[in-house]
Symmetry: C2
Subunit: 258 residues, 2 copies
Amino acid sequence: MTARPTRMTVTALGGIPEIRPGDDLAAVIADAAAANGEVLADGDIVVVAQKIVSKAEGRYADLARVTPSARAIELAEKTEKDPRLVELILSEAAEVLRFRPGVLIVAHRHGVVLANAGIDTSNLDPARGETEVLLLPEDPDRSAAGLREALARRAGASLGVVVNDSLGRAWRNGTVGAAIGASGVAALLDQRGQPDRTGRALRITEIGLADEIAAAASAVMGQADEGRPVVVVRGLAHASGDGAASDLVRAKELDLFR
Amino acid sequence: MTARPTRMTVTALGGIPEIRPGDDLAAVIADAAAANGEVLADGDIVVVAQKIVSKAEGRYADLARVTPSARAIELAEKTEKDPRLVELILSEAAEVLRFRPGVLIVAHRHGVVLANAGIDTSNLDPARGETEVLLLPEDPDRSAAGLREALARRAGASLGVVVNDSLGRAWRNGTVGAAIGASGVAALLDQRGQPDRTGRALRITEIGLADEIAAAASAVMGQADEGRPVVVVRGLAHASGDGAASDLVRAKELDLFR
């Protein structure tokens, strides 16, 4: 009996400071890794919370400056939400999927299906005012690619980057970390053609590996006041690749649940 | 700047043998842990692939002995599946949600929404015959609880157990590990009342933590011929609790995507 364990470590860096628009995230992460005694190496995947990517990119919007459309006002009544927030959600969305009081689920124009177009009203800097909210990055795959390049240059290593967010699901309670941006990662791992242990063809052909990585990172990031928005995932030899989070978005015409 | 990392390790045990009906899974896992140099300790969460739980419980069914109903024959035509398999799926299901050629998505009578009621035709023992398939455990939360008790007794430690399976999702490509059984785990972590960093109330109130743990484990289990169906997750201080995977099933009347 061969008894060699296979190990992945999922390490949340401590001491990431409050991120502000224009901050160099790669520099912040490289500094934090050093301060935590972590040496970024080939094959490491750095998972970064959407929130700090959005903050670095200055993706704030001020509800006080938003004038809601008639459609937003109507939908705000039905969802019991601020009409200005609903206006922003609609401006970020490609399609409204479902709503009811307290809930507004849309397909973001990036493709990801999520509540409130991912617009965040928590964990913001109070100094920025009570009406500021935070949108998703303009293009999370592009954010991941830029961050990967800058981090790889600093580390002198080949890295992957995942931008994660906590998403609700159909059919299941609770949010789970998922990849909304990725670079240098086999985001959707194709296992077609690989035999199972008995030599039969595998039935499951595609693994949402970047989502599994994002979920693993979420488990150690915490959601509340811990503030651990950067996680280093190490030991997943099969996770390197040239995928993007957009690979994980099911094409609308193939989606049975819209 | 406090720079103390927080680390979760996710360790797949090597050398788990082929599991057969009646095998004592706790004994197999305890032996494998020892052979891998892993000492199970308080707070560890042992993630076990559904497949070996089902095998140990003898949840095989033989398609050759199934007589499909008229409804199964009709649905088999529409889904291009074996009518006998469809009959088994229907017998496991509480509700058919969606179908099309190649796809049959149901709510299992346990509550979990998944393709083919989780019935597995891959990675089975060819000696058992080409028409044998494997059903989900009779009651995966009960399986997890029994395994937890037996493992904890052997280890002399307080453990959690998650039974995971690879599930498809609405809106997203690829399967992701999810918890279909759990015991001793804060499966659905309630964060209501916890402030964010700015003192505002948190918007996201419930985390599907057992699903995040299941996904992390899936990333190292592999799906193909690697055969690493047991994973030890260590370092998640907030993951102990008295939840069950049934906590993760959204009540039908609250589900907007059925």
